[in-house]
């Protein structure tokens, strides 16, 4: 065993075990409830407002693709799209989903179609409500801004992976007075979402939102397992800080093993 890494390796085993066990229990039927997320609760209000005003809901599942570390954000965005599409079908509102990655287009179309079917409103499903704009970052955002301004969107929902272009989308939505719900795990973009939109999902809240909206047992189990990992981290933090305050370095020595 590598010298000085024993504690780290045991920590890795503990966190991994918690995640694997909770995923298996969730797949076995364990009911996992997550705390409510303000942005998700506001989705219904946003779609209701769009129906009242007879204006569109604009939705973007992010500009990330289906591979790379940011794939998880796109999947979370598509899971929330399923939930929003159900609301849109139920309320009879109109939605435009703008897409940047060609690989995401078929998945988004499938998610929206499934939602209309689930609400028994398949005849209201509009084929071109899911629109592929461009694979180039700034060309995509120019197209999406055009739609938000032209259609005077009543609600703007951005959930997924976003980079430097996110600023332009939230500004365009604010300018037309849309209620804005935005969330991303790209921490460098969260400040612009907080400053310019009504509800912001910060970092991991995006994944929790995806799990809540989809009810996918693997995702719920994983989040529950990760929470045990956080408990483990919090435990060492509290015991360790108190020990250091009392002048003993027992925890620090343990970690150094």
């Amino acid at each position: 065993m590598e010298q000085g890494l024993v504690f780290n390796f045991i920590s890795l085993l503990i966190v991994s075990a918690a995640i694997i066990v909770m995923i298996q229990r969730a797949r076995g039927g364990l009911d996992i409830q997550l705390r409510s997320i303000a942005g998700i609760d506001a989705l219904e209000e946003a779609v209701g407002r769009a129906t009242e005003m007879g204006r569109i809901v604009h939705f973007s599942p992010g500009i990330a693709g289906l591979d790379g570390t940011t794939a998880a954000q796109t999947f979370a965005g598509l899971e929330t799209l399923g939930y929003v599409a159900k609301l849109v079908a139920r309320y009879g509102a109109r939605m435009i989903v703008t897409i940047r990655q060609p690989t995401v287009l078929p998945l988004a179309e499938e998610v929206v179609r499934q939602a209309y079917m689930a609400e028994g409103a398949i005849e209201a499903y509009d084929e071109d409500s899911v629109v592929y704009l461009s694979s180039e970052q700034f060309a995509y955002v120019a197209g999406a801004m055009g739609i938000i301004n032209r259609e005077k969107a009543a609600a703007n929902i951005l959930l997924g992976g976003f980079w430097a272009e996110s600023l332009m989308l939230v500004e365009a939505a604010f300018h037309v007075g849309a209620i804005s719900i935005a969330g991303t795990a790209m921490i460098s973009q969260v400040p612009f979402f907080v400053a310019a939109s009504d509800y912001t999902l910060i970092g991991e809240e995006l994944y929790a939102a995806g799990a809540i909206c989809s009810g996918n047992p693997i995702r719920l189990g994983s989040i529950a397992g990760q929470d045990y990992g956080k408990l483990y981290a919090m435990l060492i933090l509290i015991v360790g800080a108190l020990a250091t305050t009392a002048g003993s370095s027992v925890i620090r020595d343990l970690i150094a093993k």
């Binding site: 590598e2 790379g68 940011t70 999947f75 600023l167 795990a185 970092g203 693997i218």
Partner: protein
């Protein structure tokens, strides 16, 4: 065992060897891990051509089918092939190649991101309002950091850079660390889901 299972097992074996190479001093695992890493560099080097092939395919089809704005595609494909051929012949350190790098690629990349200064300015004016406690705290903290970063801030109040340093080193540090630990546990969870074969994600990188 179908193709999908073989791929999951292949990913799991490679992943576990790389993890074990870090924690165990078993010579065989360390050399296998090192060899796998050198393979990864070679595969990634070949993957760099994918973007060029993909773009060429899309834009050449757009030209042949005379789709809307196909003239722009001629420019794209043209510059791609010219610069690539120069690069293969003259190498990337060559003077002719450097002419394109320094006078087309660098100014364009710089201006593309410089545009963001415009967007920040217009968003600051039109959208960044302190409607909630959250956005109020954020805007106050942002203002102090901006004044701390600019010499004029120090001219207004002598201790401005120190306040900015405190914001960076205490609240910002604590929040970023909390987010980092949470995201770290999330990354391990993603890794485990991939090794278990119940997650299809792959791993890459990019610009912030």
């Amino acid at each position: 065992m179908n193709r999908q299972d073989f791929l999951v097992i292949l990913t799991a074996i490679v992943g576990l060897i790389i993890i074990a190479a870090q924690f165990f001093t078993v010579e065989f695992i360390k050399t296998t891990g090192a060899e796998l890493q050198s393979w990864g560099v070679i595969i990634a080097a070949l993957a760099l051509g994918l973007a060029a092939v993909n773009l060429s395919r899309i834009h050449i089809r757009r030209i042949t089918l005379r789709r809307a704005n196909w003239q722009y595609s001629v420019a794209l494909v043209g510059i791609l092939f010219i610069q690539a051929i120069i690069g293969f012949i003259d190498t990337s350190g060559g003077e002719v190649y450097n002419f394109g790098f320094e006078n087309i690629l660098t100014p364009s990349g710089a201006m593309m991101f410089a545009l963001l200064a415009f967007w920040i300015a217009s968003a600051a004016y039109r959208a960044f309002t302190a409607r909630s406690v959250d956005s109020a705290i954020l805007l106050i903290s942002a203002t102090v950091v901006m004044l701390g970063n600019a010499p004029i801030g120090q001219a207004i109040y002598e201790g401005m850079p120190d306040i900015k340093d405190w914001i960076m080193d205490v609240p910002n540090m604590a929040a970023q660390r909390g987010i980092m630990i949470g995201a770290g546990i999330g990354a391990i969870a993603l890794g485990i889901r991939i090794l278990m074969g119940i997650e299809r994600g792959h791993l890459g990188g990019g610009d912030e």
